[in-house]
């Protein structure tokens, strides 16, 4: 009963605050590789930028799009095993990810206050993976489907809002690969800080 009361209160407050039609965000991102991606690159990425635009269908529900760029880089010199042997040398590993997605979000509370939200982004990732060792280079560029569940909040600061959020980016494995018998998904957790603008 208490839970139901709380839920109703949130819904009423949300509708009471309805008045904003659009929200746009521009954020700087720090990301950490996750899952199988850590076998290729372990180092976090401090080079990321993303942008999204959302239209509110109701005070607590929006739909929109999301795009961005994140680049991971790592230099390693560890010897690594190959079939019947070992190879060593400086390795330069790069992973670029460009998500282009549609999204939907649910919000709690009015935008004049701290406003938590959860959402899901779904669409495509353009992934660009590259390994340089010696004078050799292995490179693969792929368009793959993917999704990114998200949680965050907007915090009013004067007339604008700060956007703080996190996404779990999951790019599905490509159908085929020149370098992997069983291609793996690309996964990373991105932390976003920037501003949100309600209109």
């Amino acid at each position: 009963m208490k839970l139901l009361s709380t839920f109703l209160l949130v819904v009423v407050l949300s509708f009471a605050a309805f008045g904003q039609e659009y929200m746009t965000t521009l954020t700087y991102n720090i990301s950490a590789p996750a899952g199988e991606t850590t076998q290729f690159i372990e180092a976090p990425s401090y080079l990321g930028l993303s942008f999204d635009g959302r239209k509110f269908l109701t005070s607590f529900l929006s739909v929109g799009f999301y795009t961005g760029w994140q680049v991971f880089y790592e230099q390693a010199s560890d010897a690594f095993p190959v079939e019947q042997g070992t190879i060593s040398g400086n390795q330069y590993r790069y992973l670029n990810s460009f998500p282009i997605m549609l999204n939907t979000h649910l919000y709690i509370g009015p935008d004049q206050c701290l406003r938590p939200f959860v959402g899901i982004n779904a669409g495509a990732y353009f992934t660009w993976k590259r390994l340089n060792i010696g004078v050799l280079q292995a490179e693969e560029k792929k368009w793959v489907l993917g999704f990114a569940p998200e949680a965050g909040m907007t915090v009013p600061v004067g007339d604008i809002h700060i956007n703080l959020s996190a996404k779990y980016n999951y790019a599905l494995p490509p159908g085929e690969s020149d370098y992997y018998e069983e291609p793996e998904p690309i996964q990373y957790v991105s932390f976003h800080i920037g501003f949100a603008y309600y209109r």
């Binding site: 060593s88 010696g134 007339d159 604008i160 920037g194």
Partner: protein, 208 residues
Amino acid sequence: MLLFKKNLHLWVRASLLSILILASMFLLQACFPFGPEDIEDFDIVGTFYDENVNFGNFKTYAMPDTVVKVSNSGVSNESGQYDALILSQIEANMAAIGYTRVNNPNQADMLMTVTIASEGYNLNTSYEYGDYYGNRYDDYGTGGYYYTGSEYQVETGTVLMSLANQESEMWLGLLNGITEQSFTNTSRRLIELINQAFVQSPYLGTSQ
């Protein structure tokens, strides 16, 4: 227009924040390491072996004093300036793991042969190489002889060390890198790479 003027302060703040974010990105970009910077950064060592061989069963090996050279112009066994260094470094590493060199191949358990192969290689320059070589050769002009903006012809050298018994090849060590003129640097790199080939082959000299 009215809406823009009304919200001018918001646009100013949003623009400043955008500039701040973009400036941060560019600053971080400046710290971004762009791949190989020195010629030895291109060096690689590959070692391959027959997993069914017990290298602890062998005690002696023979190694010709000649290093065979293979290039686009053919095969040669003329003496080269690095031959003695390569052979002595291999011998030192083989001795360290318990193998004894003998002069007569008929009395040896194994035969070590060394080949040097060289070839031209088109090094495709993606942006990081482009930046590096572009800056380095900027004095010559970006359209000059040294800088094409897309790819560079480099000479790579490969040292092949092959260890075989009378039945088959059992171990192959492959050292690959960009060749250079400096005798001192090349000698140092060769010593390091030969040592690395043995370091990453711990099964040599031992019973598995």
